[in-house]
Amino acid sequence: MKIAVASGKGGTGKSTVSVNLAYSLALREKVVLADCDVEEPNLHLFFDAEETEKEVKVPLPEFDMEKCTLCGDCARFCNYGALIVGKDKLLFLKEMCHSCGGCRILCPADAVSETEVSIGRILTSQPSENLTLITGILNIGEIKAPDVIKDVKKAAEKITGSQITILDSPPGTACSMVETVDSIDFSILVAESTPFGMHDIKLAAEVVKERNIPACIVINRSDGQDEVIEILSEEMNIPILMRIPFEKEIAEIQGNGEILSAHSEKYQKEFLALFDEIQKMAGGEA
């Protein structure tokens, strides 16, 4: 089962939920935790384990200007506006290229070849016997986050013996988030009970609803007065399955970069209960 942990905006405690859920589950079975927040991955900061590294590469066209006749066919074909052919030059806008390979196939002068360019890295580590952590990192200045996320998901699938993958989604509802929730079984939406957070979490909820992905809400830093989220929950028919209270002790543990479930048996049990509930909702066998 693949569970994505998403939030409307950053800083709502999405990582807290991902890390604690994975940690608690790993006490009883094998789990893969995948950090898909590739522009700001932070789950690895909670663990201390040796990492292996793999590059993420995408193919890009390369143009041989000795052969190019400046016919312009490639530019007229390119759906993404990555090519412009002028009277004496060809301009390739690498950031706009979607690596479709079309220009290479159609070039009548055989002037286009393919090269591979690194856009990020995948780190894999084994923080405990049952827990595998996969972290995607997008190189600074690169924009192809979805390509790195795809590789994170592929790496997660290759880990054998695990039935559960928890994917930490990038905040918001941009294409990175949409890529993360693509073909998952369940989504946890992490919300804070402020009117500000409400709008963003609603957008995230709409993304998963549109895709018929069953979902629940976890409220972080709940002060016990969560009306705004409760209204949303009812409106969108998404149950609130857990509330993490706003307590000094919890804040301190988190602030030190430590895992709540590692300190408190109570939270271990709560996160396991959350998972069991999710499994029921996702229609899986408990």
Binding site: G81, A82, I84, L93
Partner: protein
């Protein structure tokens, strides 16, 4: 010389369009004869890459200069590379008025 003006419609008295890549039409004027032909911009409704693709359209029509309201970064590099001069007009009016004001 050929001068393109971004335009909401296909006639000289159509309203000037402020956006480059998303313009519905380019009116291409010949400065010698002041004759004008309309070229529909097939990319105006597309999701991405509209600026550079519209720039390619101007290259293919041998345009030397374009008058518009605003050009995005990628389109600007494309136009520059293609040697097409860009004139920004923020006042508007009809396409022909804008052409007459800026053609020189």
């Amino acid at each position: 010389m050929k001068v393109a003006v971004t335009s909401k419609g296909e006639n000289k008295d159509s309203v000037f369009e402020g956006r480059f890549g998303r313009t519905p039409y380019f009116l291409i004027f010949d400065t010698e004869s002041d004759e004008c032909k309309a070229v529909k911009n097939p990319y105006s409704q597309e999701a991405s890459g509209v600026g550079p693709r519209a720039a390619q359209l101007l290259v293919d029509n041998s345009v030397n200069k374009v008058i518009t309201g605003n050009v995005g970064g990628n389109a600007a590099s494309a136009l520059q590379m293609a040697g097409i001069e860009v004139v920004l007009d923020r006042n508007g009016g009809s396409a022909e008025e804008v052409y007459n004001k800026n053609k020189a």
